[in-house]
Amino acid sequence: MPTIIEIDGLCKTYKGNRQPALDHLTLNVDEGDSFGLLGPNGAGKTTLMNIMCGLSKADSGSVSICGLDTVSEIDKIKHLIGVVPQSLALYPMLSAVENLRVFGGIYGMERRKVAERSEELLNTFGLWEHRNKLADKYSGGMKRSLNLIVGLLNSPKILFLDEPTVGIDVQTRRAIIDYLKLINNQGTTLIYTSHYLSEAEELCNNVALIDKGRIICNGKPASLTLQHSCGSLEELFLKTTETAINNA
């Protein structure tokens, strides 16, 4: 499969910090991958996601998505991607339908297309009956689902998911994972971060373990566990990042 994301020597240090958030990070993601970015808190996953989505700028290095540079061609990239941030990113005082109408409009989608896509996604996640309820009145799981729906609204080529299933019940998590698998099979590239390693193992065909802004290891979960003589991704994670924590 062709490479859809190319990250080359990416560096980022936040003001007032001596430790770089990203330290000459280089990584490639193939089209159609379901790619897991795994690592402990503060490893640099969210910083990397933010740079890829155009929310933040790197100090040096480059990122290209679908052959487009994330600095000079970010507007074109934004048409191709969908983002599901870790924290909820919704208008609580608007209903689900109004949220989708607003975000669809900001994507530049036609009103009719927004309505069709909203109905399809709200039905998929069981929110159609609650479409006119204010997002503020939704349960935690419903809010998470709606958060994901907004990211899926423009049928993105690449979907960035920053811990999309955090704090939700098992049923909703299952629905989300199943849908993500479905769209991945249909060709959508997923870039996914999570602390649920079993979930990552189930969803991702490729993972990269990040710590202190660097890639520790990168490859298919089964190959990595075999390579490091570990029984699971969780064991691999603990083994590779344990050293890093002890050295910190």
């Binding site: 507007d75 941030p85 005082m93 607003v102």
Partner: protein
């Protein structure tokens, strides 16, 4: 266009669902404008319409006395009294009443003042043509002016100068008449009377700005634009909180991941708040035209330039929106924005002459008032309502307001960019 309309749609929904915010934005200024205009009306009337009480005793009843009496009446600024309690005025009673502070000024023109002037001049003229003629001793002749000790020096000078001017004019006319009479007596030329034209030099007195009938705003001319501006600037709190709320609930972050430039996001926000500000101004003006007269207050006269009115309203709105956007972007939380926004607007409005007009402020405060955008706005609206000015004359105030709004928006965009980096 679709993106722009979506941003407007979202802000429209926010605003219409915030009932408390709407009450704050529209009903608070309406209540303030009515209350303050009503409270201040009597104060403005006393400054604008009260006349200076003057006692006049004209015993001359000849040319000079009549000229002074007529001119004093024509000024329109004096309330003239010529008798006290139905009794004819006497010089002693006049002096006593001014001394007691019942009247600010008293003028006594003694009997035969004009005749004495004539006799004195005649003697001098005849002596000029006939040196053998010995004129009589000049008869003492004086006009007395009594002034309340509390009156300002400038006021005394103005009154004395005016009376001196009438006396000098009359003397000149009498001199010419006596010269003509003497020439006709000495030589067989028979010269006619020489009337001195009074308008050889015309003093063209006018107000520095267009309409000379406009002098000082009445309570409605002050309070309608003043509280309209206050309302417009008070949207700073709503706007700043709107921005912070979007930042806190993550929706702004999401918009940044979408193909929507930051400037378009702010243009959308500016547009909806601009409509609100213009609605606020329109409501305040309608209050001035239709509601104030029902309360016994003067009706607001709009002037003749609707263009100037629109320009000033848009400029004031842009200044307020720029300020609110900057506060919302720089503040770390809504509490900080609310406190800073409300306190700063109240201070700027106090300095700018919203609560108390700058004309009755101490000199130092009048100078300081020029730093307040609300003062620029108020000054522009005075130009329209009080001085009946057009677009050209409100351009400086409008430019200042737009520049202020522009600087605030530039700060917002630079701050946003730096944060992203």
């Amino acid at each position: 266009m679709r993106k722009f309309l979506s941003i407007i749609y979202k802000d429209y929904l926010f605003l219409t669902r915030d009932i408390a915010g709407l009450i704050f934005m529209f009903f608070m200024p309406i209540a303030l404008v009515v209350l303050m205009a009503y409270l201040q009306d009597s104060t403005y009337n006393s400054v604008n319409e009260s006349k200076i009480p003057l006692l006049l005793l004209n015993q001359d009843n000849d040319s000079l006395g009549c000229a002074i009496e007529k001119s004093v009446q024509q000024t329109g600024i004096f309330s003239i009294t010529t008798e006290l309690n139905g009794e004819p005025l006497t010089p002693d009673a006049l002096q006593a009443n001014v001394a007691e502070g019942n009247y600010l000024i008293g003028i006594v023109i003694p009997a035969e003042t004009t005749k004495k002037i004539r006799r004195n001049i005649r003697g001098s003229v005849i002596h000029t043509f006939n040196p053998d003629f010995e004129p009589k001793q000049l008869e003492p002749n004086k006009i007395s002016i009594f002034i309340d000790p509390t009156a300002k020096e400038s006021f005394k000078t103005a009154i004395t100068s005016s009376i001196n001017e009438y006396a000098a004019r009359l003397q000149t006319q009498i001199v010419m008449n006596e010269v003509v009479a003497a020439v006709n007596q000495q030589f067989p030329l028979n010269i006619g009377n020489f009337d001195i034209p009074t308008d050889i030099i015309k003093i063209d007195e006018q107000y520095a700005r267009s309409n000379p009938s406009a002098i000082m705003p009445n309570s409605v001319q002050h309070n309608v634009p003043a509280w309209g501006l206050f309302a417009v600037f008070f949207i700073v709190i709503s706007l700043a909180n709107n921005i912070i709320k979007e930042r806190d609930d993550g929706s702004y972050l999401r918009i940044k991941t979408m193909p929507c430039p930051t400037w378009l996001y702010f243009v959308g926000k500016i547009s909806i708040y601009l409509i609100i500000c213009l609605l606020q101004m329109a409501i305040m003006i309608l209050m001035g035209i239709f509601v104030m007269p029902l309360l016994g207050l003067p009706q607001l006269e709009l002037g003749h330039s609707i263009g100037a009115l629109l320009l000033m309203s848009v400029s004031a709105a842009m200044a307020a929106i720029g300020y609110g956007t900057a506060i919302g972007t720089i503040s770390t939380n809504s509490q900080q924005a609310s406190i800073f926004g409300s306190v700063s607007v109240v201070i700027l409005s106090a300095i700018g002459g919203i609560w108390i007009p700058t004309i009755i402020m101490p000199h130092a405060m009048q100078i300081i008032s020029h730093i307040s955008p609300l003062n620029w706005g108020l000054s522009g609206f005075y130009d329209i309502f009080v001085r009946d000015s057009g677009i050209a004359l409100v351009l400086p105030e409008s430019a200042l307001l737009l520049a202020f709004g522009g600087v605030c928006l530039a700060i917002t965009l630079i701050y946003n960019r730096q944060k992203c980096n």
